[in-house]
């Protein structure tokens, strides 16, 4: 079963090609991480999935329907937390939560009150007085208290403190255990690593990587540090070995997965005293795809296409 299927999705804003044949598959019951630098097209994709923007070309299916044509019917079965939560300044937080829940087809009142308590949100305050984090909590509480099949979360924790982030993770894990599908766009790598079954990485409107965390690691190099009795020689000539540096008895290098066996055999000849291997974190995967080794691409100001905020 597929909850979201996107193939060859194209969206242009004037001269800007925001989405360039993007592909995305989210299976039912999984938590799917949606990663990419700012301006890569995450929010644009999500808005097309919600029928807020029209696609120019490509196939898009959400819960078996067409997000543009069947918007209202589909929205009864999904909940959305926008990246930038905008509320009505003169409504209280409680009113906003009830409103979203009701417009979605009703919410679980006991669950709503429990969420308010857990997220430590005062529902009597007017929305104009809420900070970004508190506005996000309003949208999160409204989404989690709704009984829906699919949750679309666009960088939902960017304004939350670490304590609240932990509460958020707990609820997402519970949703996954209950068989719900979650599309989680995020910049917080540890969050994605902790929560997601599968990940899609996009860049400049294209999907560059997709798979389980294990599968993505398979495509990448593992950094290793080895301490030997004699200096290691000839390591750089081996297939699949990169970035060799040696200082005294310690040698650092990176090795492609699947080519480990000959490397280990080679190292054994120099008397291995210690060997440590650190699997790449998502940050490192991310940097490798977008950063060219520097942080520039991640922190660079994003080009804002017209209409895509």
């Amino acid at each position: 079963m597929t909850a979201i299927s996107v193939a060859g999705l194209v969206k242009t804003f004037g001269a800007t090609r925001a989405l360039d044949e993007l592909d995305l598959t989210v299976r039912s019951g999984e938590v799917h991480g949606f990663l990419g630098p700012n301006g890569a097209g995450k929010s644009t994709t999500i808005r097309i999935l919600l029928g807020l923007l029209r696609r120019d070309a490509g196939e898009v299916g959400v819960l078996g329907g067409d997000p543009w044509r069947d918007a209202v019917a589909l929205h009864r079965r999904l909940a959305y937390v926008p990246g930038d939560v905008n509320l009505w300044p003169n409504l209280s937080g409680g009113e906003a939560i009830d409103l979203f829940g009701s417009l979605r087809g009703g919410l679980d009142r006991a669950r709503r009150d429990e969420l308010l308590r857990r997220f430590d949100l005062d529902p009597t305050k007017k929305c104009r007085t809420y900070s970004k984090g508190n506005r996000q909590k309003v949208a999160i509480v409204a989404a989690f208290a709704s009984d829906v099949e699919l949750l679309v979360l666009d960088e939902p924790t960017s304004g939350l403190d670490p304590l609240m982030e932990a509460v958020f993770r707990e609820y997402v894990a519970a949703l996954r255990d209950a068989g719900r599908t979650v599309l989680l766009s995020s910049h917080v790598m540890s969050e994605v690593e902790a929560l997601c079954d599968r990940v899609s990485i996009i860049r400049a409107g294209r999907t560059v990587e997709s798979g389980t965390l294990a599968e993505l690691r398979h495509l990448t190099r593992t950094p290793m540090t080895v301490e030997t009795e004699r200096p290691v020689a000839g390591l750089a000539e081996l297939a699949g070995v990169h970035a060799v540096t040696a200082s005294g008895a310690t040698t650092r290098f990176e090795v492609e997965s699947g080519t480990l066996d000959p490397v280990l055999a080679h190292l054994a000849r120099f008397g291995v005293r210690a060997l440590t291997s650190t699997p790449p974190t998502l940050e490192e995967l991310f940097m490798r795809h977008y950063g060219d080794g520097s942080e520039v691409a991640v922190t660079a100001p994003r080009p804002v296409p017209v209409g895509a905020r």
Partner: protein, 542 residues
Amino acid sequence: MTAFTGTTRLTRLALRRDRVKLLVWALAVPGVGAAVAQSVSGIYGTESDRIGYATTSAASVVARAFNGPVSGPSLGSVVTAEAYTMLALLAALLSTFAVVRHTRQNEETGRAELLGSAVVGRHAPLTAALLTTVAANVLSGLLLALVLVAGDLPVAGSLALGAAITGIGVSFAAIAAVTAQISGTARGANGMAAAVVGLAFLLRAAGDAWGTVSADGMRVVSAWPSWLSPLGWANQVQPFDGNRWPVLALTAGFSLLAIGTAFVLTAHRDLGSGVLAVRRGPAVAARGLLNPGGLAWRLQRGVVLGWAIGILVMGLSMGSVGDQLDSFVGENEAASELIAQLGGTEELVDAFLGTMMAMFALAVAGFAVQAVLRLRAEEAAGTLEGILATAVGRPRWLLSHLLWAALGAVVLLALAGASTGLGYGLVSGDVPGEVARLTVAGLVQAPAALVLAGLVVVLFGLLPRLSVALSWSAFLLCVLLGQLGALLELPQPVLNLSPFTHLPAVPAADPSATPLVLLLAVAVALTGLGLATFRRRDLAIG
């Protein structure tokens, strides 16, 4: 570092931020003055015309209440009487908004927090806001005096009027400085200050209405309430007559006192908070809110109620002067011709009431434009995104707002007619008859306002990012065609562009159904077109 460190920089920042607004302001006040001076010297060209004007204005309670106390038959005095209310309200409201924009609004948006963390003293933002606003007031007052002198009015009187209007602006800048400390929101601060403007106007109107006419019959001695109002002090300067400069000491003293109060309040509160705590709301939503229509009403109701109060006061006061009309315009040939021309009939009272209804039609169309533009405001603010991500379709959302805009316009026009009818009925002695007759006359105006509302929907659907500017331009065009079209003798096809041209001149003429039905059909067609285009387009957020 003192509490005022950074004031210069912040003032420069305020001037930079507001350079367009301040320019428009500095030109609007002298612009109004020049336009009025021009038309007054045309209509009241001779001494005898002006003596007639001064005598009738001094005798009429209505003229005293709305235009202030007339002081003598000089050209300058007539210009002052005709331009005073407009100039005073412009200066008072623009000053209020400017001060609140640079104080409370900055705190609300969080900009002040960023500034406050820099080398900026506690009192610097308020001082900068006041300096900017006072400078704008002085500039516009000087320019006003200049254009009046250029229009051949005496220098002393021109300067006195310019100073009096500047004084009004400064007084209300000082009042806004206080309300910006009291209220925790920009909206609240503006609302409180605007309420003070209204109160000041009422005090002045009451004082002048209760005033006595001088021996020569061409001047008014105001009663004490006028002396309690910053708007009244400007009158008491008596530009072009007494030129009583010492009265401005009241303005200066009052402003200094208010500004001092504001500084004391600033020193005793936290950044971002007001003296009044922001009110809390219910923890659980009421049932009525939980659908698109309920939400739209919640968002629109403040505007509707505000308009209803304004229209009620206006209708009652305008209706109740209907019987004074003969004394008001009877002696002035040009004025009675003007009214006959605007209403298109010789029956003076009905022509006057018809003119009133036409004015109400335009005013309520302004409400309709404002209410429908809420669509765009919701879209730009991003709140629409959240709504459309729920099980609410675009047509349902759009129509829920449109419902209140249209219903509001119809009810406001009925209220305009009914209150005018009540006012006129009370003085003419036939309350039920006049209420019924004028309520119908009010309702007859509705189709034109609805056509304008429909046009706004189309603009929202087709050109969301330009819809606000284009909608108000269309509204302004209708106002201009309605007010000046006949006077300028524009060709009929041009006048026909405005839906208001096609309204029957009730109550003087019998309402005929055909134009009303056609206008309604146009309104429905425009709405349908706007809805169809909105359904097909991307959301344009921000």
